[in-house]
Symmetry: C2
Subunit: 645 residues, 2 copies
């Protein structure tokens, strides 16, 4: 279901006879999250003044005296109202007889979204007025007593219009937004999934849940770390980007199997769909290899996967970084659909087309292509033009569209230079049909692949906009990407190296000798977990040998090892071989719930500028409160003027 | 067991025949934490290169081929070594035959605390060499292959001396300290107990685990909050002391039942046994009263209580704040022992003793006493003197010791003025025996109680130092303290009021009228949970009425309501009645494990000065890294000189 359709339907309320409603959706929330798991249902009304939740009442409750608490969702002609709680909706009959005047007054006068408590009897709805689409649709409540627990003031907008408002408004009134089905569903699914992960790790596999500090020391090269001034002049804590050092030190400390649902911090300024604080499922274990961690995570996801989704199939497929780049043009391929990149260099070894000739004559020169299924049918001429423009603007590359149906060769200036034999060979290699379009480019391997990787995703979006069902929305396609390079050339100085991931990543066992000869070529024991084209986790086997760690840090990376002396020392004192992984929880839940943004799976997210729009954080601080921390604000010259206003 | 005795025993190693060892302790760790719970044992060797843990092997494994990984705990005469992992110890026989020379070399040369992997067969120990005190004491490992996984460098100190070193050294080499049984036990118990709490809240009672932000806005009067500079000039986040506002907003958002194992922050400078970051079990629910929260917590502790302790008995007793002060002189009474404060004013209505006469003639004037059981036997003359000095120095109060055995009235200058009838009445009221000592004081009720409350604890410690068993070390004595005052006079200006706890606490239903007449007398719906004299939790029913909340904030407390406008607005839009509690997890685990300090139940604690002694945090930051945050260090004048060195 979609968010707006649910809320507008919910707010349209339930009339007699009831048309299409979203009740089944509310009803399915707990069926899917709780009831179909193998545990007994939680007692949702324990310790509370209510006897039951609104959403749980059924014909089996007929005749029971119940006390309910909830929000007035809707009232119709002062004859009944619909009461809502997190569990669902129930219909309450407003008594019409004179003796119940006070109850009637309360229920008729309380504004919508007010909180009331009602006590009464569960009765059958009159024959013909049942609502089979509503879980509580066979019953209603005959009220005896009612109490207004809290009246709702006039809302700043109609709740039913709420979803049409901007996200900024939703964030400003987050406490109202949280009442929506979608936010309730997202947060409850998140809680359930994390709980199952804990059961799997802690109860089934002996992992120890250990909290690590967030007030820590600056890490080498740790830009993007928030600072926290201490009361010692000039001394600052840093909020770490991950518990990396601590998890390794726990392994040195013999904890054997650690996990934590860890709060992490990253100050990237304004970035859409990133949060300054985020959560990762952080895992580390001793005496393990890459396969061990992969099996652990496959089991973890399988065990914790929501019951209302198709089960996770394990093991997940694995590709190497090199394969991923060659086949999908990215290290996080969306494997829900094909359109793989195919090397067609051999087809054009003897071509007369100039730019292909040029490309093939250079080192690493290749001709690559992807096949757009039914592209001739779905893509418009202007699509092809914008694709070619994109390639030229962003990659300085030429794209040659090849229409396999010879009648439709618009925009293929060199089409006449492609011989029939080449066309047939192309069709064979790429397994194409007549209505398909091949997008062809030539150039250096990595560049050509990156371009086609982007176009593959662009075209998939285009095809879906035009009505093709390319990616099954119920499909969750996991993929391991392995054998990453250990180092990358530094952007600012390509002759120096930097860690592709982090400096504690162990080299691939077959490549250790390369560290001393051609470190650029060494592969690592890093692995990424990809879901539907999104990186949702990454980890590695770590270096446990102090000498190797020192060599990499000091000699290859030219880092100041003093800042890591505690870690190097720890490796010297009997560090076991160990490895781990971290899953990005916000992103994972976002994908599982099909949410448009990670902000939809976080109770109180920051805006993309890092603001809390509800409370207005960050905020100004009186300068006397800065004194204990021995800091002063350095006002930028241009903002002094602003401040004076 | 105590930490030093365990570690020294462990390090003394296992000789044949084995004397007293600590093996039963290692063995009991998992029996108590895991095996006796009603779940199946975790698979501790899943996904790992080992087949078994060292500590799990028994006669039932005889003949099995196993692969073990662990640390060399001890080696004896190159004939066997003892291998350790988190699970326990096992004896490994070093092969003596020539064909196994390489295995022999590895096992004989690796320094103690090196990490090795061995494969071999589980065999019986030779007859007469079994160790019944050691869980693995019937078997040993006949090794086939061995691999040195990581050699341990010479440690900076002998492990066996480690515990004799200062706590600073333990914190500096925390990764070695974590290998100790006690730290393993504490951290694993903590993990298990939190896991069970989650099961109780999430699986049994439908609570939703929701993460709330830690980068938040300054709260009114929020000194003690760490600041986090943002990239906007002059704007700061604050690290909140608790998720108080968020948990209430979640209730407004209809989440109904929230919990979180929440990281909280408090900058109190240097305080012994406090941490700048700490953890609380944070709970809030809607449509609940005080009794509901209390039952919830009693059930929570009962469910999560470790199996190796006596079960928790519920319900917990309750005293009012007033009773607690009158009976124990404190709002967090240690109810493991008696020595209650008794009001004996009536005995002395007609006394000739001057200071008693004086006291009783004043308003709120009382005579109070506690009875020290067998005090005449256990306390020395100098003890009584130092007690009197303490009372004079800290409370400006006189203490009159009364020895009930008339022969021993040393140091009771006014004893002769106590008539026999008064002595008998005193004995009746205080239920004393002949060897007891009564400590008597006179003065204003609260002051007299506070003093005797302190002396009660002092004397209990004294008696225990002298050998009396006053407090059963296996006893966990929970107590609810309720009916706290809602407000207290401000320390700096006693005519103004401040919240006794926080401004969101609801008044006692019977006292709402007092808010408008005598607010000082109003009681609150706050409750504290006390365990063995330590406050381990506190909570309240919250104000859900915006008007009442505004009145308290603006009119009574004179706070700037603008900073809380989002919360006040939220209360206006249909906030349900709600309440909650927070348990201090570090303190609770500290008490459960009998640890001397909360630092012993935290993996990487800060020193009492807030330093991480392992990594040296907080640390200096290059000034260019401060620039993005628009802050500068204000060096205090005296430290400029220091800095220049």
């Amino acid at each position: 279901m979609t968010f707006p359709s649910w809320l507008s339907q919910l707010c349209r309320g339930l009339s007699r006879p009831i048309r299409r409603t979203t009740q089944p959706i509310w009803g399915s929330l707990y069926r899917s999250l709780v009831q179909s798991s193998q545990r007994r249902n939680p007692e949702f009304s324990s310790f509370a003044v209510r006897t039951n939740t609104c959403g749980e009442l059924r014909s089996s409750h007929l005749g029971q005296e119940v006390t309910l608490c909830g929000w007035i969702q809707y009232r119709r002609q002062n004859t009944f109202l619909v009461l809502r709680d997190f569990h669902g909706l129930v219909q309450v009959v407003i008594p019409q007889d004179e003796s119940a005047a006070s109850v009637r007054k309360i229920l008729c006068e309380a504004p919508v979204e007010s909180v009331v408590q009602v006590s009464g009897t569960v009765i059958s709805r009159p024959a013909g007025q049942e609502n089979p689409k509503m879980p509580t649709g066979e019953i209603e409540i005959k009220v005896k007593t009612a109490e207004l627990l809290n009246a709702c003031k006039k809302l700043p907008f109609e709740i039913k219009d709420f979803m049409k408002k901007t996200e900024a408004l939703r964030l400003q009134y987050r406490y109202l937004d949280l009442r929506s089905f979608q936010m309730q569903y997202n947060l409850r699914l998140r809680s359930q999934m994390v709980m199952k992960m804990r059961e799997y790790l802690c109860n089934l596999h002996g992992f120890v849940d250990i909290e690590t500090p967030t007030l820590f020391k600056r890490t080498p090269g740790g830009a993007k770390e928030f600072l926290v001034p201490s009361r010692e002049p000039g001394k600052f804590y840093s909020l770490p980007q991950s518990p990396q050092q601590f998890k390794q030190l726990l392994m040195v400390g013999g904890l054997d199997r650690y996990f934590q649902v860890a709060r992490c911090y990253r100050d990237e300024g304004s970035r859409p769909d990133r949060q300054p604080e985020f959560t990762q499922i952080d895992i580390e274990m001793s005496f393990v290899d890459q396969t061990g961690i992969q099996s652990l995570i496959e089991g973890l996801l399988q065990y914790s996967w929501p019951n209302d989704k198709d089960p996770v199939v394990v093991p997940f497929p694995t590709v190497t970084f090199t394969e991923a780049l060659a086949t999908y043009g990215t290290d996080k391929p969306d494997t829900r659909f094909g359109m793989k990149i195919i090397d067609i260099s051999d087809v054009f070894r003897n071509t007369e087309i100039g730019f292909l000739q040029d490309a093939l004559s250079k080192p690493h020169g290749t001709v690559k292509a992807i096949c757009i299924p039914e592209g001739a049918k779905y893509l418009k001429r202007k699509d092809i033009e914008s694709i070619r423009k994109f390639a030229a603007d962003h990659f300085n590359q030429e794209i040659l569209p090849v229409f396999l149906n010879a009648n439709r060769n618009w925009n293929s200036p060199v089409a006449s230079f492609i011989m029939e034999s080449q066309r047939l060979e192309l069709m064979r290699l790429m397994d194409t049909q007549e209505e398909d379009v091949v997008l062809l480019t030539a150039g250096e391997h990595n560049k050509a692949c990156s371009l086609l990787g982007k176009l593959r995703l662009e075209c998939a979006d285009l095809l879906e906009t035009r009505g093709m069902v390319l990616r099954d929305p119920t499909l969750f396609s996991f993929l391991w990407v392995v054998d990453f390079p250990l180092f990358l050339p530094k952007e600012e100085n390509p002759r120096e190296l930097e860690s592709a991931h982090h400096p504690f990543t162990a080299p691939h066992p077959s490549d250790i000798h390369l560290l001393y000869t051609e470190p650029k070529k060494a592969r690592s024991q890093h692995y990424d977990l990809v879901l539907n084209g999104n990186e949702i986790g990454g980890g590695s086997i770590r270096i446990h040998n102090a000498e190797l760690q020192r060599y990499i840090l000091a000699t290859l990376l030219k880092e100041d090892v003093k800042m890591l002396s505690h870690l190097l020392q720890a490796l010297d004192y009997g560090a076991p071989p160990h490895g781990g992984i971290a899953l990005g929880l916000d992103r994972l839940i976002c994908l599982v719930t099909g949410s448009p943004s990670i902000r939809d799976v976080i109770a109180f997210p920051k805006s993309f500028r890092g603001h809390d729009l509800m409370s207005n954080a960050p905020d100004s601080i009186p300068s006397e409160e800065l004194k204990p921390y021995h800091i002063r604000v350095s006002w930028p010259t241009d903002s002094k003027a602003e401040r004076a206003h």
